[in-house]
């Protein structure tokens, strides 16, 4: 008798527990018990059942199992894109931690579209995801808070947990966990690093107004300037629409076209922008760090490649912590509902002291 599996054609119907029971000459309850392994069964029966399982290529139906109360736990992650190194790193950490805790990882990307975000949330809710982790940069306004409040409550009502990762907390009464990192502190330290090297005219490359990470980072920049008694020159802030390499290149090129540099250092809102800005500087004949010092933010792949001094963001810890906190249900009422992880400057070769 050939195994069904030996046929290359798709089976018309998946084998069910009943098929196994029939093939093994036992009841379905016995099959369930053998498979569950949580109940004493006679060795002979067990053997017969396992043989039937193999013969029929039987695999439990997780939906049926879920309905009966034993669900495959899963953690969902909603992100605008996995191509972005930032999200990829956090997503990887989430997946790894979830797997370690025996959970499946559902993923959905939104491309930054709010409708798709909502759709993803709804889907994850239907799928009974134990936790839904929302990652990334957003505009923090009333609309956002209202929307996230809705998500959080809907999830809570369904026994699930919303986690905001690198996003602002929507308000005190919203049942969400927040795992964030210190954008402002990191930017303050980064800017401080440049200031300590003697730089006073520091171009801020790639501010994206309204977005929380951007606002947090530029706030740190401003704080550092203020702390060093350096007046802020609004002309030194280059606002852009995207936090990407291309944008950094474009902004810097336009700036250099308009006038010779009136700055000695550049602080880019992230490493990708720094990489783009760097290229424009090079094309303009400016060397880094000899002519211009450059700092990035994130400490992601492009940084090592271009020897970029930058600020390390704990992507891995961000993802792992998000999962850990979400699954640790016995949290004593909000004790650690809001975690902020630290960042630190990573010195490479793109900054040098200003001499003269």
């Amino acid at each position: 008798m050939p195994r069904r599996a030996a046929s290359a054609e798709p089976a018309d119907r998946r084998a069910t527990i009943r098929d196994v029971a029939k093939a093994a000459g036992v009841s379905i309850a016995t099959v369930s018990r053998v498979l569950g392994g949580t109940y004493p069964t006679a060795a002979a029966t067990r053997t017969r059942v396992m043989r039937a399982v193999r013969d029929l290529d039987y695999v439990v139906n997780s939906h049926a199992r879920a309905l009966a109360g034993i669900s495959t736990k899963s953690v969902a992650i909603v992100v605008s894109s996995v191509v972005s190194p930032f999200y990829a790193h956090v997503a990887q950490a989430v997946e790894t931690q979830a797997a370690q805790e025996g959970r499946l990882c559902l993923i959905s990307t939104t491309g930054g579209d709010l409708r798709r975000e909502l759709g993803a949330l709804k889907l994850m809710l239907e799928e009974h995801a134990e936790a839904v982790i929302l990652i990334g940069n957003v505009v923090d306004n009333d609309e956002y808070r209202r929307r996230v409040g809705e998500y959080a409550r809907a999830l809570a009502a369904a026994g699930s947990q919303l986690v905001l990762c690198g996003r602002p907390a929507p308000g005190p009464d919203v049942p969400a966990i927040v795992v964030d990192y210190d954008n402002t502190g990191g930017a303050r330290a980064a800017t401080g690093h440049l200031l300590s090297a003697g730089h006073r005219r520091i171009l801020y490359l790639g501010h994206k107004p309204g977005y929380t990470t951007s606002e947090g980072r530029i706030a740190g920049y401003r704080e550092a300037l203020a702390a060093h008694g350096v007046p802020e020159d609004p002309g030194l802030v280059l606002a852009g629409g995207a936090l990407e390499r291309q944008e950094g290149y474009r902004l810097m090129r336009e700036r250099l076209r308009a006038a010779e540099p009136d700055f000695t250092a550049v602080f880019a809102a992230n490493d990708q922008l720094a990489a783009g800005g760097r290229q424009a500087l090079h094309e303009h004949g400016l060397r880094i760090p000899e002519d211009i010092s450059l700092m990035g933010y994130d400490d992601l792949p492009p940084a090592t490649d271009i020897g970029l001094t930058t600020t390390h963001v704990p992507h891995d810890e961000l993802g792992r912590t998000a999962v850990r906190l979400a699954l640790q249900r016995d949290r004593a009422g909000g004790a650690d509902d809001h975690v902020v992880l630290g960042t630190h400057v990573v010195v490479r070769q793109s900054v040098r002291p200003l001499t003269g």
Copy 2:
């Protein structure tokens, strides 16, 4: 009457269709029909039901729905890591295409561990994933073919479809779809590009023996040399253990330590290796492309940053095609079970003609 959602505490139990029916004063069938929208219902009833749905924060249970026959379709993707740009790009494309076709995307990373791969497969099988897409570089041997054959048959028996993306076909009788790209052709073209520029001593950086993409790429390198009548010097092949930046750096540094370069160009097995090799060359005082020409493979983020001439791999198309073929069930028996996508050289600034 406050909405249940207004409470920050998790509900003891999710609202079911029965709760909604009771609240709306109708039968569960009516609720189902209103929600399904596939059946005529009185406007007044619809309003009452929808109100109850909102009041109770009701969300259908996709497991129950799946059991009853209407399943949320999903596509699973199994990959060793999403941090690797190659996988991230393909994964992104898979997710996007899946979402476009109304499917949820399950993701599992294995870290290259075969046990985790098997576990992931089993899980996806239990979850009734419509298709399981396996991505990436592997060793092609009997063990691999046996294993993948098992996967494919188990999935087929469950009415699911195995797709191998950038992996070799395991054999003729295995019910799997293969979506691959032309490693050898791309490497032949890349090497040809260097040869046409007059280079004869071309270092191959980062060969990982046994792995299919590596073997495919080095085969193209050899073919191109042969076609140009250049004898292959085994001493010009640097074998490594990882296809990563660090490894490229390490290999190149050791090579340069041992002896001054006896090559005029470098062909790296991928862009990351190229980026690492480039750094080692720079540290040794060698300029690119003035002193040494450099080619990569993949055309992924590091390539633009470092102006790398490389070979473009259609990651996006790879992922989209994988999903499309998997879902297109009416394939006429293997007509397009094996697709090979093309690659092409992308010229940037890291190669220059050899003069003198």
